[in-house]
Symmetry: C2
Subunit: 105 residues, 2 copies
Amino acid sequence: MENKDAVVRLAALAQETRLTVYRLLVTAGPEGLAVGRIGDALGVAPATLSFHLKELAHAGLVSARQDGRFIYYSANYTAMNTLLAFLTDNCCGGVPCGVDTRHCC
Amino acid sequence: MENKDAVVRLAALAQETRLTVYRLLVTAGPEGLAVGRIGDALGVAPATLSFHLKELAHAGLVSARQDGRFIYYSANYTAMNTLLAFLTDNCCGGVPCGVDTRHCC
DNA sequence: TCCATATTTCCATGATTATGGAAATATGGA
DNA sequence: TCCATATTTCCATAATCATGGAAATATGGA
C-alpha cells in the first residue's frame, strides 16, 4: 500500500460524520444500509451525506450497490485491514517484542 | 474511546508528512528519534516539522522525551491499538464471521 | 406517460489546515 | 558568561475541506 493511498483512507475517516457513517456500516454488516437509512440515523442533509459517502467510497472504505431506487452502502473490511497492516508495518524494525516488555504492536 | 478522540487521532495520521513521521517512529522502536534526525530523513523545514510533531503528540500517537538538547519522539503503540479496536468495534453487529465466508474483520 | 421518492451534482460560503521565514527559547560546552 | 546548536512559537499566506439549498438525474409504480 502506498503512503498516499493510506492518507486518502485516513482522511476519509478523520471526520466526525464520516467516521460515524463508517462505524454504522461496520456494525450493519455485508448487506449494508440505504442512504436514506443512514441519513435518518445521523440527521444530516442529503447533499452533505452524499458528499461524505463519495469520500468514503473514493477511499475504498465502502462500496455502493444499487437495489431498485435505493443505493446500499456497505463497509469494505479488507480495505480497513490493509490500512491497519500498513500503519503497523515493520514495527520496531521487525524486532519481536517480548511478552513482558510489551512496548509494541 | 470517544468518536471525537478517534477523529483527532485519524486526522493526525491523515497527512503525508505526519504519516511518514509516524511510520518512521514505529520502525524506530521505543527509543525514538530526535527531531533533527527526523528532519534529516524527511527534509522538511524545522517549523513545519515541529507543527506536525505537535499534532501527533496532541493526538496521543507519539510521546516526547527530552535528553539534553535533543527531544526524542517515539510512537505510542497502545494509542494505535486503541484506535484500531475502535474502528472495528462491534463489527457485523457482533455476529462472528465464518472462516469460509470471510466478509469481516 | 406522469408522479413520487431516492440520490446525486452544482455552487457559493465559511471554516480549517499546511507551509516556512523570522524571532524566541532552551540546553550544554568552552 | 558567551556561543553554537536544537527546537519551538508567532505570524501571514495559500490551499483544502465541510455545509446545505436548489436543481438535476434515476427508478419504480400507477
